[in-house]
Point group: C2
Chain length 433, copies 2
């Protein structure tokens, strides 16, 4: 089935969506059975629409070329902000088109109107990309955890703030230097106030709260405090008490109602949320059946945000195909095709080797000689003294990357050395996660 798509706004995110629809076309079709066809793209500024071949796509500067195109099923809105985004989305819905947006400010402030308009017109308004960028957290909340009462949500939802706080925590920067670092890395806008004052986090919390409570939530009912007053001193004190300061979006169900707030929060340093560093986002959810779950990943950026938008497009396409009576197999495994699996022997890893050797001269030379002959290169060595009678000393070697079969051959040869005890262990090491 052909699904025709129009994108309004070819900035960073819109261009990313076009890139996926064009470059991932084959895998999308084979996984979903849908022919996702990018028919039109609209913008008045094409500076960011680089790196993709738009020759098969109609380009114009008038959003109504998409909004009035009867063939277009799904409109992607990626201009952001309130106007003209609100007018465009409203018009698309009135023209019976499904809409996909990443516009958290708009959903947070005009969600009620837009959802009702969509309901009245029998179309869907999808917004996976509005919270947590590439993290499928909207889907996780409303589909994956559909059976659950959502009790608490603790979210790190703004990459700029998390980057600043991480730099303050890990590198001892003060707020203004950390902000500068975030701006240099492209994680903070020239005017970062919507981020650092907490507004962006509050927008996203509004959306999560609507999903979790199944009711409408007013943006201005959220208590909001940004990170501008956080000093290096407080970061250090918090650390000494075993806490890490994070800007959290908090949703809690209390007897009296919902507790909704955005503020800098001391989180126990051994909690998983405290390990969410730099510009990354995470949403920690407590629910009555699934228990504690967490969704983690990039909260912004062209490619992650586009990934989320396309997952919404696919969901809409899947629903459309079902309504037309053509069954869509949600299963995406081609059982006719057997995966090509490599054997471990041919895979390279770093290794950890621990053995006990008799404490005598020249032994390390022999062991490292064997490793060298098998082309396994050593990255670090630790040999400890012993005061045990039997005079065996532990020796630990970390290697650089080497093929499993080379390491195996080396191990076999090392085991044959007369001065090695027979409890040698080797493990694989991953530092490129």
């Amino acid at each position: 089935m052909d699904i025709n798509i129009g994108i309004i706004g070819m900035g960073t995110v819109g261009t990313g969506v076009a890139e996926i629809l064009l470059r991932q076309k084959k895998i999308l079709t084979s996984r979903t059975g849908l022919n996702l066809r990018l028919k039109r793209v609209v913008d008045i500024n094409w500076e960011k629409a680089t790196g993709i071949d738009l020759s098969s796509v109609r380009r114009s500067s008038d959003a109504y070329d998409i909004l009035e195109d009867k063939d277009i099923h799904i409109v992607v809105e990626t201009i952001g902000g309130h106007e003209p985004a609100f007018s465009f989305i409203s018009k698309a819905i009135k023209n019976k088109k499904h809409v996909v947006t990443a516009n958290k400010a708009l959903i947070a402030s005009k969600g009620k109107e837009l959802f009702e308009l969509a309901e009245d017109n029998g179309v869907d308004l999808m917004f996976e990309a509005s919270v947590g960028g590439g993290i499928p957290v909207i889907k996780g909340l409303r589909e994956g955890l559909v059976a659950n009462d959502i009790e608490n949500i603790y979210g790190i939802l703004n990459g700029t703030c998390n980057y600043i706080l991480t730099k303050m925590h890990q590198e001892g920067l003060d707020f203004s230097d950390a902000l500068k670092a975030a701006q240099e890395r492209g994680f903070a806008e020239a005017d970062p106030s919507l981020d650092i004052k907490g507004n962006d986090t509050a927008h996203k919390l509004t959306i999560l709260a609507m999903l979790a409570s199944s009711s409408f939530v007013e943006l201005n009912s959220i208590f909001m405090e940004g990170i501008t007053e956080i000093s290096k001193l407080d970061i250090d004190f918090a650390k000494s008490f075993g806490y890490t300061i994070k800007l959290l979006a908090i949703y809690r169900v209390l007897n009296e109602g919902i507790d909704l707030r955005v503020h800098p929060t001391l989180v126990p340093s051994d909690h998983l949320l405290a390990s969410v560093s730099n510009e990354l986002n995470a949403i920690f959810v407590k629910s009555n059946f699934a228990g504690d779950t967490m969704f983690y990943g990039p909260g912004a950026g062209r490619r992650p945000t586009a990934s989320a938008i396309v997952s919404d497009i696919v969901d809409l396409g899947r629903d459309m195909i079902l309504q037309n009576g053509t069954r869509f197999s949600s299963r995406s495994i081609d059982t006719k095709s057997l995966a090509r699996v490599v054997t471990l022997d041919n895979v390279s890893n770093r290794f950890y080797l621990r053995l006990y050797t008799y404490d005598a001269p020249g032994i390390l030379a022999q062991i490292s000689g064997i490793l060298g002959e098998e082309k396994v290169s050593i990255s670090s060595v630790l040999q400890l003294e012993t005061h045990e009678k039997e005079n065996y000393v532990p020796l630990v070697i970390l290697t650089h990357k080497a093929p499993e079969k080379a390491m195996k051959r080396a191990i076999e040869r090392i085991k044959e050395l007369s001065f090695i005890r027979n409890d040698l262990v080797y493990l694989r090491l991953l530092d490129e996660l």
Copy 2:
């Protein structure tokens, strides 16, 4: 629309599914528009079917009462193992019923046959609960990340092994004591060999690898090494090098094919996966657009597993309703109902208070006196010496839980004290995440 459901196997997980279908009925109907009706449950042993009222449900000991019931749309298989589960699932599919299962061993070994049988019979075989328990990772992979090439997966997929390794790492237990602790806490079976030898992890990796590669994967093509040889010594050495040992399921796309393995792995201690402790599971996914994402939560247990099974049931129900031409609004926000949000003043928190006071006697008494009068109780205090000329010393106070308005009143009063500098800061603290 009525969706009739039968559960075969009323052990721990089956009973959890029944519990959700009965207890969460109202929220499921309001969120999805579906009437999920538990019609029949079958088992030959009812010892574990406790804590729920099954009076509205037909009970019997013959699985064919469900398999041959023409009204039943969805069969939930929660007996586990190969037979009779395989025969029951096959029969259900042949009788044109959708099937939901948590049976990873069966999907990993007989997935090809069962998926093809489902395809031929126009029904779906769903298995969200087979990997990661309550974590919606199957949905995340095949729907949330649908637009992505999945490049790498690193999974902590077995709660027993992760619990054992965590105890060895954090408490210095040796393997056999940690295994005993896991058994006492109910995280390990009396015969734990399928867990600690890696088989269970390999089953789950097979399933993830099929989804990630969109092709069929043979269980026996996975290299597998368990945790039985891991000693406390190696845990300690790894720690001293900055690594934490985890049993990882690894999926990597190489030029030559797919690299699939299960083995104990040294993970950098500052990587998020190293912070996944105790019986918890996590699946770290690298994909070409969404980047690095992670799904975290409970990998087993009655309620989390049941939560995943019910999300599959809802998905099937949603597809059925669409095929019948009745549109289902996937949106689950009732815009007519405004959420009841409490004001922060009425919410209790723990607080962090940092101020500078003039270094003179009796000051701590006055500050703590004010806090006491406002019923804010102190949990710890840190007052540092200073050698600065101006003779102000920093004072940090952590409080127990107190209402915001009490803390605010105390702060206002403390600020008025003559010996307090005007850069007082207070933050909220969360230790019940």
